[in-house]
């Protein structure tokens, strides 16, 4: 795993630090999950379905208990400061799946009591921006609207760290774009950070500063996006160019009638022959890494 820092941030700038998180299930395990996020940035958490994204995010909030590992939020140890830290964290897991027969205004009236810094004005602005009707019941909302309602709750108590699990899935393209813009606005003051998991990699191309990639419970990479992307190249060649040396260096490849397309680590360049190289995008990196 490589772990690069942007701008050489100091310890005080760190809003989230995860060290050697382990959680073993019968058929799946999180293995030494480590990454960190500094104030004022957006980190995209990518991985396939079942790679461990939600489990990791739930572990950060103690909804799932890690077997070992340390989590620090805003410089504080989570285990010893759970209450204070939860006030500073906004979490969204997919959408609102609780109390489907209750009205949004009822759930809001309960939720807001728990937050010392609840901002009714901000909440009303988000309700308007997301076009939510407080008189509606949760089950009457589409999946996308459920996510928006969950976000409105999470954003209205001045959270410094937002932990969002698949916040963009289920949203239409316009809402997704609006949400990504909102994320950018939120981190503008340099005090807040967002960690969000997704498998819609184009969202991250638009707004993420860092990428953390989890595969089968292990972090493959956690780096700033440019470095992460620069670390890989797409190679294209003819059948004849698919030599043993080339294939041994490829992370993954696909063959077709003309030749092959594959992914290679920039560090493993050059390779023999005049093979076409082009920059890799997140989706391509994910697809070929999963073929490894």
């Amino acid at each position: 795993m490589h772990n690069f820092k942007k701008g050489g941030g100091t310890q005080q700038m760190e809003i989230l630090s995860v060290q050697d998180l382990n959680k073993r299930y019968e058929k799946f395990a999180l293995k030494n999950v480590s990454f960190s996020l500094e104030k004022g940035y957006i980190m995209g958490f990518i991985g396939r379905n079942g790679a461990g994204k939600t489990t990791t995010l739930k572990t950060l909030l103690n909804l799932v208990h890690a077997d070992s590992g340390a989590i620090r939020v805003l410089g504080e140890d989570f285990a010893n400061n759970e209450l204070a830290i939860k006030q500073k964290v906004g979490a969204v897991f997919g959408g609102v799946h609780y109390y489907p027969k209750k009205k949004l205004k009822t759930i809001t009236s309960v939720t807001k009591r728990f937050y010392a810094e609840w901002d009714e004005g901000a909440y009303e602005r988000y309700v308007k921006r997301f076009d939510l009707d407080p008189e509606k019941k949760v089950y009457e909302l589409s999946d996308g609207m459920k996510v928006k309602y969950a976000l409105a709750l999470a954003l209205s108590h001045h959270a410094q760290l937002l932990i969002l699990d698949e916040p963009t899935s289920g949203l239409d393209p316009v809402s997704r774009d609006d949400l990504l813009e909102l994320f950018q606005e939120l981190i503008e003051d340099g005090e807040k950070s967002i960690l969000f998991s997704t498998h819609i990699t184009s969202d991250l191309e638009k707004c993420a500063d860092y990428i953390t990639y989890i595969r089968n419970g292990e972090i493959i990479a956690s780096a700033d996006k440019e470095r992460f992307l620069n670390d890989y190249q797409i190679v294209k060649g003819t059948k004849e160019q698919f030599s043993e040396e080339v294939s041994s260096k490829l992370i993954g490849y696909k063959k077709n009638s003309f030749g092959f397309t594959g992914l290679i680590k920039t560090a493993d360049l050059p390779v023999d022959g005049h093979i076409d190289l082009s920059p890799a995008d997140l989706e391509t990196i994910m697809i070929y890494c999963e073929k490894e």
Binding site: K58, L63, V64, H65, L83, I107, V110, T111, R113, Y115
Partner: protein
Amino acid sequence: MKDLLYKEFKLAIHPTAFIFLSLSALLLIPSYPYYIAFIYTDLAVFFIFLLGRENQDALFSVSLPVRKRDTVKARCYVIVLIELAQIILAIPFAIIGSRINPNPLGNLAGIEANVAFFGFVFIMYALFNGIYLPMFYKSAYKAGMPLVFASAAIAAYIAALEVAVQSIPFLKTYLDTWETGMLSRQIPILVVGIGIYAVCMWLTYRKAAKNFETVDL
């Protein structure tokens, strides 16, 4: 805790918890196994957990900035409030019922709803809560099996009590009566019942909270 209780009342409590309180009036029936009126309370408790399971209450509550064990504590307070309300509401019905009972021998179907009886009800509640809550919080979603065990326990408890009171002469004389002369025998049972209930509820909370701590949501 105030906010968690607000959440319980606003979202979590099943309406039967309030409706079943009216079943304290069953104590007006001249001949009736009066424990039944209080078994309904436990049924209402079960409905709260069932409703909570269907509404993902545990995940919602724990996602809020609260300690996990405090969500259990709030639920325990709610249960105590409902059980105490059921008992307090039952007292006037017990008194009126005994006055208007046309049977010269009083309740022909079991123990009189007297002071000792209420002591036994406290112990019955303690038994139900002590089994149901720690068992439920082992998974935070299996609401049915704990009910089977807790119901079996209170059924056995009631059966044993009724058999003892009806078949052992001195228990029948001391406990199955409204005679004020027997109050000196019955009041200690009430006091002990309340004591057992209080201690058991505290232990129940501790055990349930401990079980819930280890649950992954």
